[in-house]
């Protein structure tokens, strides 16, 4: 019943792998299972890990060149011809540059076009702010019909890719560039629209998406050593949000932290705030990018610079909790 974490998750030598690598494997597996799946890339095939698919199914791989608007609109036409097109680029360019095309030809048109945005978040590193996509969650989750998924590690990314290949809907898959710790296992569940309780606790609900769930686990471990037990929930699907799992936890804890490698405004923290604001108004500390752009640096330096590491989150939580009332049902 309970989610089995990778037993080595807190070890110094925990296995690291870029989330995008899981996408590459998942896409190839999806292509083996369903020959309607086609892949399109905008001149970043190895970088986005589509080369595995290209090698396995050269006939079903389409090089688009550096043309992100064409990328999704050609995909829309392929979808009309009965295909399930996966498009990939860096998130800064797709959905960064081609939002209107996605809106009109994928979501309003309601075709199962898959937008795979790699290199999201500040952990892109030295390339700097232009390439560190932070607004993609906000851009994609406001679109009707769109499904938004940000896997937490490469193992989950593989499962998420297989799931969105068969969901019949326009979908956004958010990937990261840098190697990140693998906290799930091959047996961990993944279902679109489901959130997973990784650790139980009553002091607060820690909701993480994408790469940030690992950092919440680290924060929770530090807090536990200090006698503060928090509940950690991994929320790989930002839309549709698993309201039931979130509400059940928040009713128990009365305090929420959200964490994402993205703008909190309009992002995952925004989504949780909207939901709880309407349902169970609860104090929320949103960890993420606070109305600013990233900059060049090593990925780990940047996470620390922007207060996104586990130890920093633990400290921020303690400070915040001491000055914030806990809201309970009936408040």
């Amino acid at each position: 019943m309970s989610y089995q974490l990778n037993p080595a998750v807190f070890d110094d030598d925990v296995q690291l792998e870029p989330i995008r690598a899981g996408f590459g494997r998942g896409l190839k597996a999806a292509g083996e299972a369903n020959e309607a799946i086609v892949a399109l890339c905008a001149d970043l095939t190895e970088s986005t890990q589509m080369h595995l698919f290209r090698e396995a199914f050269p006939k079903r791989f389409i090089e688009i060149g550096v043309a992100e608007q064409n990328l999704v609109t050609v995909a829309s036409g392929l979808a009309r011809a009965g295909k399930i097109p996966f498009t990939s680029s860096y998130a800064a360019f797709s959905p960064g540059r081609n939002w209107e095309q996605i809106r009109t030809t994928a979501t309003l048109n309601n075709q199962p076009v898959k937008i795979v945005g790699s290199h999201a978040g500040v952990s892109v590193g030295p390339d700097g702010a232009t390439h560190q996509m932070l607004e993609d969650i906000a851009l994609m989750r406001v679109l009707p019909n769109m499904v938004v998924v940000a896997p937490g590690d490469s193992v989950e990314a593989e499962k998420a890719t297989l799931a969105i290949a068969e969901n019949g809907k326009p979908s956004y898959l958010r990937l990261a560039r840098d190697k990140t710790p693998i906290f799930s296992t091959a047996d961990s569940p993944f279902e679109i629209g489901k959130a997973y309780v990784l650790q139980e606790g009553h002091e607060a609900t820690f909701l993480g998406t994408g790469t940030m769930t690992y950092h919440l686990l680290v924060a929770a471990k530090i807090l536990k050593e200090q006698g503060i037990e928090v509940e950690v929930i991994h929320v790989p699907t930002i839309k549709p949000l698993d309201k039931e799992t979130i509400l059940t936890s928040v009713q128990k804890t009365g305090r929420v932290i959200t964490a994402e490698e993205a703008q909190v405004a309009g992002g995952f923290g925004g989504a949780v705030s909207e939901f709880l604001g309407e349902t169970l108004p609860t104090p929320i500390l949103r960890i993420g990018m606070l109305d600013r752009f990233g900059e060049s640096g090593a990925p780990n330096e940047l996470l620390e610079h922007f207060n996104l590491t586990g130890p920093q989150i633990a400290e921020q939580f303690k400070e915040w909790k001491d000055k914030t009332p806990r809201y309970h049902q009936g408040f």
Binding site: Q69, G77, N109
Partner: protein, 286 residues
């Protein structure tokens, strides 16, 4: 259903009358573009394309994408005349709950292949479909037609698609440019010059045909030529008169985005009815 040329000319006139009536009832919408495209759409739906209006998802059909979605009244009127739905429904254009949205939405109306309005993405969608037929599905007998406006060619997305179709030699793709020389802010050459338009497409690897877009024979010939060319996509630069058939709308860019009032519609219908059966290629009549 393959109509003869005189039958097509008669049908196009009926479709123009439907366009005027539906725009008048709607009270808003675009007049010039739809009237200018009536001959091309009539030729496509009543002669050129292999389609089954009673079975819009027929697997062997030819496919039509409208890229400049604001001209959709001509597509609705043509589809209704072809039997996709009752002509009476044309009067619901732009009303709440109507399947005939102000700009076309695929999911609302069977027979529409895409959703469009924001300019520049129809050629890519058509190219994606044509790619699938040529390289994945091995269905060489099906063709993909797309209509674009000329002002729409200001969009970069179009030229991304032009490069793509050229690279992959999408020979089952037949594009029409509605070369009526107007866009909202004035003439195309004032707003953002397109010439040398033929040279542009040729340099992107396309076969280019220039025709009088009101001459049924030329429209049909251009598409047969396109289907016979197996190593390149074809673009038909169709010179048209915006507002064609209604003298007070012709050539006047002010009619781009407005609908006729009842007085104007009455005049327009009279004009069209008088011309019925006497249409010449120059568009001059009694």
């Amino acid at each position: 259903m393959q109509l003869t040329i005189p039958q097509l000319e008669h049908k196009a006139n009926e479709i123009r009358q439907d366009i005027v009536k539906m725009l008048e009832t709607a009270g808003s919408g675009h007049s010039a573009g739809p009237l200018g495209l009536a001959d091309i759409l009539t030729a496509l739906y009543f002669n050129i394309m292999n389609i089954r209006p009673e079975d819009p998802e027929w697997a062997d059909r030819d496919v039509f994408f409208l890229s400049n979605g604001h001209t959709v009244p001509v597509q609705y009127a043509t589809m209704a005349n072809a039997g996709y739905f009752e002509r009476a429904e044309l009067q619901t254009l732009r009303r709440l709950g109507s399947r005939l949205q102000g700009h076309p939405e695929r999911e609302k109306l069977p027979g529409l292949e895409n959703t469009s309005g924001p300019l520049g993405s129809g050629l890519s969608q058509a190219a994606g479909y044509a790619y699938s037929l040529q390289y994945i599905d091995d269905q060489k007998h099906r063709f993909v037609y797309v209509v674009m406006g000329d002002g729409e060619l200001n969009e970069g997305n179009i030229w991304e698609a032009a490069m793509f179709a050229g690279k992959y030699k999408l020979s089952q793709l037949v594009a029409f440019v509605d070369r009526n020389n107007i866009q909202i802010d004035g003439t195309t050459e004032e707003v953002m010059p397109l010439e040398d338009l033929k040279g542009k497409w040729e340099s992107f690897g396309w076969h280019v045909v220039e025709i009088d877009g009101h001459n049924m024979e030329s429209i049909i010939d251009a598409t047969s030529q396109a289907r016979a060319i197996t190593n390149r996509p074809t673009v038909v630069i169709a010179h048209t008169i915006p507002g064609k058939g209604v003298d007070f709308m012709e050539y006047d860019y002010k009619w781009h985005g407005i609908a006729p009032n009842s007085e104007q519609a009455k005049d327009a219908l009279l004009k069209l009815r008088t011309l019925d059966g006497k249409i010449s290629h120059e568009g001059e009549g009694v």
